[in-house]
Point group: C2
Chain length 238, copies 2
């Protein structure tokens, strides 16, 4: 997939004969991958363009040849995958809406919202997992929150809409706070800090997205049901 990888298997490619366009795209992809990895580890200010260049194995000035400045590189790293997962999730929520026959459930909506994303980290390769970790950092940060808002507000509103229809009697505040809890849990999951590994003495692993997928929608749906059972409702009876 990358030049580095290709070099690891020289037998297969005697003379790749890649066109300029291909080389260009490869270079850009390598830079984005390296930046993605480093940004996810140290944040935007914790990484220098030299760090990125060294990881790729090229000169720092090449960063400026392909990207206007550091900020532009960062935004591109974020947006490269943000657009993908946003589209997938909207599609999944649309599909769920069509399938649920006008009667969405909380758990169904959460599965569409969460599982579609988790699948990317499960089978999307290391790049996706790095990007996820970056997102986990971003959300808790001032400069990152804007980027998140910009890209994911439509998806979230789509989910909120389904949740409201699944729980028409619930106070809106409760729906928003429930969503807040869901996001927080998801973002910490994406961050893969290794904390749960240590706490559980190796029983659980913070990169075990399958384990999260198997539990999260159910856990959170139960939380919402608890709100429905005990909290002040809208005053309208379904």
């Amino acid at each position: 997939m990358t030049l580095v990888m290709a070099t690891d298997t020289p037998a297969e490619r005697p003379q790749p004969k890649r066109s300029r366009k291909e080389r260009r795209e490869d270079s850009i992809e390598q830079i984005l991958d390296a930046a993605e990895y480093l940004f996810s580890k140290h944040g935007i200010y914790g990484v220098t363009l030299k760090d990125v260049a060294q990881r790729v194995g090229v000169h720092t000035s090449l960063m400026h040849y392909y990207f206007a400045d550091k900020q532009a590189l960062f935004v591109e790293v974020f947006e490269r995958r943000a657009t993908v997962t946003r589209a997938r999730r909207i599609e999944a929520l649309d599909a769920y809406e069509r399938a649920c026959d006008g009667r969405p459930t909380v758990e169904g909506a959460l599965h569409a919202f969460l599982d579609t994303d988790l699948d990317l980290y499960i089978s999307g390769g290391e790049g996706w997992r790095n990007w996820g970790a970056l997102g986990g950092q971003l959300s808790n940060t001032d400069y990152g929150a804007e980027l998140m808002d910009k890209h994911f507000d439509p998806v979230v509103m789509r989910l909120i809409d389904l949740l409201k229809r699944a729980m028409p009697d619930m106070a809106e505040e409760d729906i928003f706070w429930g969503y807040h809890f869901v996001t927080g849990s998801l973002l910490l999951t994406l961050a893969r800090t290794g904390r749960i590994d240590k706490l559980s003495n190796g029983l659980c692993h913070s990169d075990d997205f399958e384990a999260v997928k198997a539990r999260m929608a159910r856990f959170m749906a139960a939380g919402f049901r608890e709100f429905a059972a005990t909290s002040g409702a809208k005053g309208v009876e379904g």
Copy 2:
């Protein structure tokens, strides 16, 4: 509390006549407060010592007079309040254990764990809220995760222990994952990103810790109960 605040009310203090020791402590406190605020906004690498000094209104070199280097300042900012909340939470969990008469409940344990912390942000003033936001960032970061582990592992293990006793039949993995969800939600709460404000069109506020306190333990306890109801148990029947 700080020199700046004191200067705001000149009538009360004609000639403070503060001793060297008092001045020294005031200066250190001001530096820590300024650093805390800035680190919480931009992370450790997003803040320069000059930024901190300018916020206090002194020269950059004074940072080095009081702190060995930038890293030491950062650690001090974190530890100043970490030790306080850790002690309070352990105390609260101990008190709950004594009060529950050997029969802890999930919700009771979560209330002791969460509310004690949330109370600090509700009534501890802006410094505490800034520190909380810093913690929210740290946890999703590599360099911060270590600091968190070091200070909060004892508290968390204390909570886990109570949860296990409240749900003796539950698979350990489920307890750890449930705790993971709880922490994620708490950390995003502390980050106060303003996201929920925008999403809810002003209905909810990300600095409304009271709202979280009123909902979180209940929401999460219901999640744990869901695990108890449907997930693979330990194989032992209570």
